[in-house]
Symmetry: C2
Subunit: 205 residues, 2 copies
Amino acid sequence: MAKQISDKVINRLTLYHCILSDYLDNKREFISSGQIAQLLKIDDSQVRKDINLLNKSGKCRVGYIVKELKVSIEKTLGFAKTKKAFIIGAGNLGSALAKYDNFTDYGLNILALFDSDKKKIGKTVNNKVIFDMSKLENLVKKSGVDIAILTVPRDYAQLTANYLVKRLNFKYIWNFTPVVLDVPDDVQVWNENLMGNFLQFTYHI
Amino acid sequence: MAKQISDKVINRLTLYHCILSDYLDNKREFISSGQIAQLLKIDDSQVRKDINLLNKSGKCRVGYIVKELKVSIEKTLGFAKTKKAFIIGAGNLGSALAKYDNFTDYGLNILALFDSDKKKIGKTVNNKVIFDMSKLENLVKKSGVDIAILTVPRDYAQLTANYLVKRLNFKYIWNFTPVVLDVPDDVQVWNENLMGNFLQFTYHI
């Protein structure tokens, strides 16, 4: 049975997963908790504790079997349970996220982008079409997508969120705008608080 | 005297700061902890506890004075202590970050971008010039910049990091690539682990 996994552990497990992908690319078969710990500059015992939460660790005499540990993280974090999302706002950030191929490996399937700039409509980014915002309602009904990745300019953030939530019934917003959105209680917003992250990083400089 | 402030508190304070900026834009003078709590769907007492960590809260009979609370957060988190950075990799993500005007308010001054694509060199993004990578060494010496925002493609991430750290002596890397970088112990890397963030958000869906 899956144990309860905290946000911090989820975050670390995805970083372990990045390392394992690199190891596989370089055809390295085994990895030790110490090697992972050193790359992330965290404690060896922390890595072992996290890996012990997985159902199957792939542990062997010389460390962990890279391929098995990777699959085990994927199973535990539910990478196979694909989540479909639309990107709202096809500017630089929206386009960058659409190009981020890694998302697919992690079970995030970005189906399309939406924008209101006529010059962008009909173009593609990484094989994903940019549609006019007016098409969103219809495509939401057809696809059942309820995760929106919000990358519109600051001044349109709340207005767009209102439309997504009240009119189209989106339940999850991954918010990349620097605006704290005002939404009903049954809607989950994840604020990608870039500035907060930066300040955590540089606070002690 | 400044109290020790944890990463989580720093993160929340920057979100409060976003809310306060919005309130100021809308010419609203007062805000209650309950209003902040409701927008972020967190506990009222949590907000009050965080605000109590500030040297001056701007508390008055009808709540907090928006302008004073905002300045107090800025002082506590050191927004005035400007940090200079270069963006390495002028693709979509690098360009999006260069356009993110909010950074300046928070004390992050992005001076320029660097890329090796000849078609991009000499262009500007948000008034910041894109230079050839070959100019980086000289400009680092002139400017004293030691924070790199790394937005190169995955396959160049470690190579570029090696160059930044070993040759140019960068001490801080804000890493937007999906690669866990192998750097010496005296270099700090902040992994902007987008996928980890997404999984925290969607793990329970």
